[in-house]
């Protein structure tokens, strides 16, 4: 149904006509007391990217330029955002050109990539931008043609007056539209009339990506720029002494200096610095906890019994429930540290000048990089510009600005433009990992096999909260106790694609599978029964929509022929995270007594699917990522340093290790939610539960390939 949206006129309309005949209509995202007019010609708009002061422009030629405010790291936002604007504008997509916006939080409000949050945040704003522009063009056309505005229709950038047969291109009336006041309210399209949203639109950067154009931060070069690398200390250590004599002798090295417990090497190109870095002789001494994986394992076990757990949720009385239970099941699950390892290692360009700092590179949080730079240098953030390059992956690693500040410090010291590059080894040993975590689950069952009590205690590292206490099965169980114990590790940690839930979902979905098998209920029916209870007599408040969760469960059960073929051993998993619902089934077929993982079927409810190609990419990619790390990912520590330093020992999933993936969507009609993360959490559970169905072996730790239960099961992964 089409609905009317109130616009705050101050919010986004800016109009201007230029001396040279070019014109644009611009839209600001957020409130602005005195709208500024910007006068630019068409050529200037296209040429002077950094000076362009608006979100959407239409030239007299009918070309449309849309700025994409958020960092692009493969989530396809640079394509899907403009699709929404173009839809409400009724633009001809072939005439749309998309440009990456630089950091400007006055104009764009939210410019970050994280939490799968961009689309839900901007959906309505993007529609307003497009619908307002269309409304103004219609008003201008109605005046020009001397007809009633309501008798006009639009299609692909053309305004039609059906009864007279007259038509005008958007470009022809844009000058007139420039004179008009923005409407108080605009009418959004009925989703059933969408022509661009819901169709597969190709990535707007395809040509540049496939011909090797310099898109990424690491590709940025500037005349006179110096290159730099940094040797960082092991976690919990500080520098005792540095012998850089050999490093300085490498041809091409300009400077080696110590700062903030790091050793920086500066030179004219990358290779000499890589060589010199290996020649540094640095001795370290402990400054705090110098940890190894064995310490983490011990700490987890100790803290699971800690008396100082923080209660995150308590419903009913678990003590009584567990005392009255006819059966209690308890299991523990653990995962290791993981590296983010985007294919493009960390890097950034900085030029610290007297009155201005220029920052250019790949960051998920450009504003945070700017603010931290301002704090570090003690200058106003207005004196800092940030240009956002394409990101060669992020996975949460580029939420941190540590590598940006390195470039800033070295540029300041050298008084020159500097690009800092991390080697792969730097990237893997330089910190900010997905932390290891251990969970203990307990279920109290009555004589009929009903789950009358549920306990979860998580021991997390630097995570604050390692549980998601208001997520399923909370709401469906009478007596619940969910607790967290936090350990502060000297190893730096950070959000990693689907923070916390990237492992919690597997542990929980695997434990629920254990309980279902224990009470001899079908794992799908077991969950549906719990959800029915959460619907009919909910316990406490929850963060998920029961019907939407039931929707994806039923759909994936149907699409996967759940339980219908005894030759196919199936594992089920469902999870709600980042506002979207994803249910998955993994299929293992027995061939000559050998289990073969052949297929993963997923059903997603992310509301309206904006771009089917992009959505499939995110869901399929999330499944491959979730599977790869559940199967192989393992970063272990010895004396404060990761033992795995590159892809020869840190195993990432490859082409021959992916099964077939089949994707479905529930058309729930809700406004679209993000997909960068939600498909990843359920995957490990679906696979582990399928492995149990096929082999009777329960995998309670990751990575699967390193568990003793896995070692002799000869699991093969093969598509089809």
């Amino acid at each position: 149904m089409a609905d009317i949206s109130k616009t705050n006129r101050r919010d986004f309309l800016k109009l201007a006509a230029t001396a040279t005949g070019g014109l644009f209509i611009g839209f600001y995202w957020s409130g602005c007391d005195s709208p500024k007019m910007q006068v630019l010609s068409n050529e200037e708009i296209l040429a002077k990217v950094t000076d362009f002061n608006s979100f959407l422009s239409i030239t007299p030629d009918g070309d449309i330029v849309i700025y994409s405010p958020n960092p692009e790291l493969g989530q396809n936002i640079k394509t899907s955002f403009p699709m929404v604007v173009a839809e409400e504008l009724d633009a001809d997509w072939a005439r749309v050109r998309v440009l990456q916006a630089n950091l400007d939080t006055d104009k764009f409000e939210r410019q970050l990539t994280g939490g799968s949050g961009a689309m839900p945040h901007s959906w309505e704003r993007l529609r307003k931008a497009g619908a307002t522009a269309r409304d103004l063009l219609l008003t201008a056309a109605a005046t020009r043609l001397e007809v009633d505005k309501n008798s006009l229709t639009t299609e692909k950038g053309v305004i039609y007056h059906k009864s007279s047969g007259k038509k005008l291109n958007y470009g022809e009336v844009v000058l007139d539209a420039a004179q008009l006041e923005a409407p108080e309210e605009v009418i959004f399209k009925d989703p059933k009339d969408f022509k661009i949203i819901g169709t597969p639109i190709k990535n707007v950067d395809n040509k540049d990506i496939f011909t090797g154009k310099p898109l990424f931060g690491l590709d940025f070069y500037r005349e006179g720029m110096l290159h730099a690398m940094v040797q960082r200390p092991p976690f919990g250590m500080k520098i005792k002494s540095v012998d850089d004599s050999e490093a300085r002798n490498v041809s091409g090295i300009q400077e080696v200096f110590v700062y903030d417990n790091n050793v920086a090497l500066v030179g004219s190109s990358t290779w000499p610095i890589m060589k010199a870095k290996k020649l540094l002789k640095i001795s370290y001494e402990p400054e705090g906890n110098v940890e190894s994986t064995a310490d983490h394992d011990r700490i987890f076990k100790e803290l699971l019994d800690s008396k100082d757990a923080r209660v995150m949720r308590e419903d009913g009385n678990v003590e009584v429930a567990f005392k009255n239970a006819s059966k209690v099941i308890t299991s523990e699950y653990q995962c290791p540290f993981l590296s983010h390892s985007p294919m493009e290692p960390m890097n950034f360009f900085a030029h610290v000048k007297e009155d201005h700092v220029e920052l250019i590179g790949p960051t998920q949080t450009p504003d945070s990089a700017r603010v931290q730079t301002a704090d570090l240098l003690g200058i106003p953030k207005e004196n800092i510009s940030v240009e956002i390059t394409r990101l060669g992956g992020g996975f949460g690693r580029r939420l941190r600005a540590d590598y940006v500040l390195e470039a800033v410090q070295i540029s300041k010291k050298m008084n020159a433009p500097v690009k800092v590059t991390w080697s792969r080894e730097d990237d893997m040993t330089g910190g900010a990992y997905r932390p290891a975590v251990r969970y203990r689950f307990s279920a109290a069952l009555d004589v009929e096999g009903n789950m009358i009590g549920y306990k979860l205690r998580g021991v997390g590292m630097n995570a604050g909260n390692s549980v998601r206490q208001d997520n399923f099965p909370s709401g469906a169980v009478e007596n619940v106790l969910i607790e967290n114990v936090n350990y502060e590790s000297s190893v730096t940690t950070n959000a990693w694609r689907a923070p916390i839930t990237n492992f919690l979902a597997y542990a929980e979905q695997s434990f629920l599978d254990e309980v279902a098998h224990e009470v001899q209920k079908d794992p799908v029916k077991f969950r549906l029964d719990l959800l029915q209870k959460a619907k009919s007599s909910p316990v406490g408040s929850v963060n998920y929509d029961v019907d939407r969760m039931i929707g994806v469960i039923k759909d994936v059960a149907e699409k996967s022929n759940w339980g219908k073929n005894s030759n196919v051993k199936q594992g089920f998993s469902v999870y709600f995270s980042h506002r979207s619902y994803v249910a998955q089934v993994a299929n293992i077929e027995m061939e000559n007594n050998q289990p073969v993982l052949k297929k993963i079927i997923a059903t997603t409810d992310c509301g309206i699917v904006v771009n089917p190609t992009g959505a499939n990419h995110q869901v399929r990619g999330g499944i491959v990522d979730g599977m790869g790390h559940a199967m192989f990912g393992n970063l272990t520590f010895e004396n404060g340093l990761p033992k795995q330093k590159n892809f020869d020992s840190y195993r990432l999933i490859r082409m021959k290790e992916v099964p077939e993936v089949e994707l479905h969507y529930v058309d729930s009609g809700y406004d679209p939610t993000g997909l960068g993360e939600p498909a990843l959490p359920p995957t490990g559970g679906a696979i582990a539960n399928a492995i149990f169905a096929a082999t009777g072996r329960r995998l309670r730790s990751q990575p699967f390939v390193e568990q003793k239960e896995y070692s002799d099961m000869n699991l093969e992964i093969r598509r089809g």
């Binding site: 990535n203 496939f210 898109l215």
Partner: protein, 152 residues
């Protein structure tokens, strides 16, 4: 430092670098050909794949001194207008997510299809297994290679 005359993408280049400098860094830091990517530096991921006399090769471990008269082709020189059948297939299938590994994937696929124009899906998997895609676009890569065999 020594002088090297290189034949890259049909053009002649002269560079003055240390003899152990990998071709990857000669391309990126000295010749401005940044389409060839650095990711692991130890011949594990394939992001740096170029053609040496048509053969897919990891440029991150190939010293410039070993190239001699060999013909080097990078992603920038794979086709005049970005319309090599493999590039076309990559666009048609819309393969990329972040895109960082894709130049290496395309170079590997192009060399592979030159030697084996009608591969089976298993042969495609074997050939492409040497390139890592952290975003997990493997299904689309397989589809695109298969499409390129038909459009060649």
């Amino acid at each position: 430092m020594a002088n090297y005359n290189l034949r890259i993408n049909g053009k002649k280049y002269e560079v003055d670098v240390e003899e152990d400098t990998p071709l990857l860094w000669v391309l990126r830091d000295h010749l401005g050909l940044v389409g060839t990517k650095y990711s692991c530096g130890i011949a594990q991921c394939g992001a740096c794949t170029v053609h040496i006399n048509g053969e897919a090769t990891f440029s991150c471990v190939l010293p410039v001194s070993s190239i001699g008269d060999d013909k080097v082709t990078t992603i920038e020189g794979l086709s005049e207008d970005g319309d090599h059948p493999v590039q076309n297939a990559w666009n048609e299938i819309d393969v990329a997510q972040c895109g960082y590994c894709q130049a290496g994937q395309i170079m590997n696929a192009a060399s592979f299809l030159n030697k084996n124009p009608k591969p089976t899906l298993d042969e495609i998997d074997d050939a492409m297994n040497r390139n890592i895609c952290r975003c997990g676009t493997y299904h689309k890569i397989r589809e695109a290679v298969a499409l390129a065999t038909k459009t060649k």
